[in-house]
């Protein structure tokens, strides 16, 4: 139906967004790729590599080309394995907790009870809390080994309080991040539960279906799709968790891949190494993104 005029106008209307996103995506990414092949340290702006290795290639700004050495250095750094492991642990645990917890909470919120709207906002609230606030509140008021609330509860039942951030930094970060993301899963799964066909519910009730098989055969199949969406979207966000680790100072032991890249770049000033790390993070995220995009794309056709 679109006329030639509207079509031209349409292209004109889309172009600013396309241009802005194209710049945002291509300029930094290509610079990161380029830097990842340079020996480039901010503290050492004129590296003497050309003197050390005769015939070394230099770029226009006299920076020394490094080939794949940044990648091999980053990938063989023991810190990389640790950060990679921490990233996976964080994503895996938080996903497991938020899908299981989110399903249970969504089922609970789907029941009829007094003050449902208020309980729902209480359960969703942690997702709205800014990451730096949640990090400091958990680190101090909740998990401090002396005056923290959890220490008080431990003492109340006669247990030795745990110094979470000193002895179990990874567990502490997982608890903190799960607290923020369980509400997200709950919200998505609840929205989907509420779209469950009323007639199906009634039919199951009339047939006297026991609650467990009702859940297993009717509710769960309905939730598989939103669960997949939750898993994919959370994975994207969880791979990028940064503030919680940065602010609580757990980077040393529970630092993940983004934190390591930050350390390489803005702390150690090793631009080449940080860029190689950044590219590795991009590749990892893309593997997840491909699956997510397929799901959303399918939805677009429907």
């Amino acid at each position: 139906m679109a006329t030639q005029q509207t079509r031209t106008l349409g292209k004109l209307a889309v172009s600013p967004s396309v241009f802005a996103l194209l710049m945002w995506m291509i300029v930094p990414l290509s610079m990161t790729i380029y830097f990842s092949f340079l020996r480039y340290n901010l503290l050492d702006p004129n590296p003497i590599c050309s003197l050390m290795t005769p015939g070394a290639l230099l770029d226009a700004e006299n920076r020394c080309l490094a080939g794949f050495s940044n990648y091999s250095y980053f990938l063989t750094d023991p810190a990389f394995f640790k950060a990679m492991g921490n990233s996976l642990k964080l994503v895996g645990w938080v996903l497991a907790i938020s899908v299981a917890g989110g399903t249970l909470l969504a089922l609970l919120l789907d029941q009829a009870f007094y003050g449902r709207g208020f309980v729902r906002i209480m359960m969703i609230a942690p997702f709205l809390v800014m990451p730096t606030v949640s990090a400091l509140v958990w680190k101090n008021m909740m998990m401090n080994p002396v005056s923290g609330f959890l220490a008080y509860l431990f003492k109340l039942v006669g247990l030795q309080p745990i110094d979470w951030f000193a002895h179990f930094p990874m567990t502490a970060v997982v608890i903190m991040v799960s607290w923020q993301w369980v509400p997200f899963a709950t919200l998505i799964l609840l929205t989907s539960l509420q779209s469950l066909d009323e007639e199906q519910k009634e039919a199951a009730e009339m047939d006297g279906t026991p609650p467990l098989s009702y859940f297993w055969y009717i509710v769960l199949p309905h939730l598989i799709r939103p669960m997949t969406v939750v898993i994919l979207i959370q994975t994207i966000f969880l791979l990028n968790v940064f503030a919680e680790i940065y602010v609580t100072g757990t980077g040393g032991r529970a630092g993940n891949l983004p934190f390591l890249v930050y350390q390489y770049g803005l702390i150690a000033n090793d631009i080449g190494g940080a860029s190689a790390g950044g590219i590795i993070a991009v590749i990892l995220a893309n593997i997840v993104a491909i699956f997510l995009m397929r799901m959303i794309g399918k939805n677009l056709d429907a």
Partner: protein, 276 residues
């Protein structure tokens, strides 16, 4: 008999749901309560729940000592500014893709979405260096640009799914009646699009307010929003729980209120329309 059982069941569910709800909400509640305590009461053991000398002193001290209002002002400017500019370029794009789709529209939408998948650390170093070289570090303009670009794909997607729901027949009808494109936009489309735009605005303000990667990496003082303000409390010398709580309460209160209204938009925006 049946009603009796279901009433009892309802009471049990109510108790259970409230207990779990309070448990999840507790860290926030505790922060709010602690913000009204003196520093001594804040670390007292056993913890004081309600019976202590309630005081507003912390709120005053936080403002006096660390200039809360300047950070809050930055947060407001960054959230509103980035949202405004993103809407200005996103509305025409989403409108065009929803009402005059071409062969490539779907691919274009998917490509826009894919930009959101790129981890920030992939762009951190160049953006930091560009900002440094152009004197944009710690400036509002620079951060607004980054936040705008960051959330642009979500905004376009959300607007697109809302605009898609506006029936095309209405446009055809108005065109048959001889409305020009300008009139069509102003009198037909705009009123129907406003709820969708408002929802998108709400979600984006929440996202921009809480953004804590770029704001931590690119600001230090002048353009620093509340994320950075709170982070400054992580140093040991800044550790006073009552004051930290007052600062935290002020940082999250506006968003908790907005979030109350935005529950549906959160789902729609963050799942790119995959769950409605």
């Amino acid at each position: 008999m049946a009603r009796n059982v279901s009433f009892r069941r309802k009471l049990v569910v109510t108790a259970l749901a409230w207990a779990i709800g309070l448990l999840i909400f507790f860290p926030i509640l505790w922060t709010i309560i602690t913000s009204f305590k003196s520093e001594g009461d804040a670390i007292a053991l056993p913890p004081k729940f309600l019976f202590f000398d309630w005081t507003l002193e912390n709120y005053g001290v936080v403002q006096e000592r660390s200039d809360y209002l300047r950070f809050a002002m930055n947060s407001v400017m960054l959230a509103l500014g980035s949202t405004f500019f993103a809407l200005v370029i996103a509305i025409p794009s989403a409108w065009a893709m929803a009402f005059a789709p071409g062969k490539r529209t779907k691919d274009l939408l998917m490509w826009m979405l894919s930009t959101k998948m790129m981890p920030p650390v992939g762009a951190l170093i160049p953006v930091y260096l560009i900002f440094r070289d152009f004197g944009l570090l710690d400036t509002r303009g620079g951060i607004i640009a980054v936040l705008m670009l960051l959330n642009l794909p979500i905004i376009i997607w959300m607007l697109y799914t809302y605009f898609k729901e506006i029936p095309g027949e209405i446009l055809e009808a108005s065109r048959m009646d001889g409305a020009s494109l300008g009139k069509e936009l102003l009198y037909v489309l705009t009123p129907m699009a406003i709820p969708g735009i408002a929802s998108t605005l709400l979600l984006n303000i929440i996202l921009a307010w809480n953004e804590a990667f770029w704001t931590l990496a690119l600001t230090t003082k002048d353009a620093a929003p509340l994320t950075q303000f709170i982070a400054s409390y992580s140093s040991p010398e800044g550790l006073f729980w009552a004051k930290l709580s007052a600062a935290s309460t002020m940082a999250i209160a506006p968003i908790l209120v907005l979030g109350w209204f935005a529950q549906k938009q959160l789902v729609r925006g963050l799942t790119f329309g995959a769950v409605k």
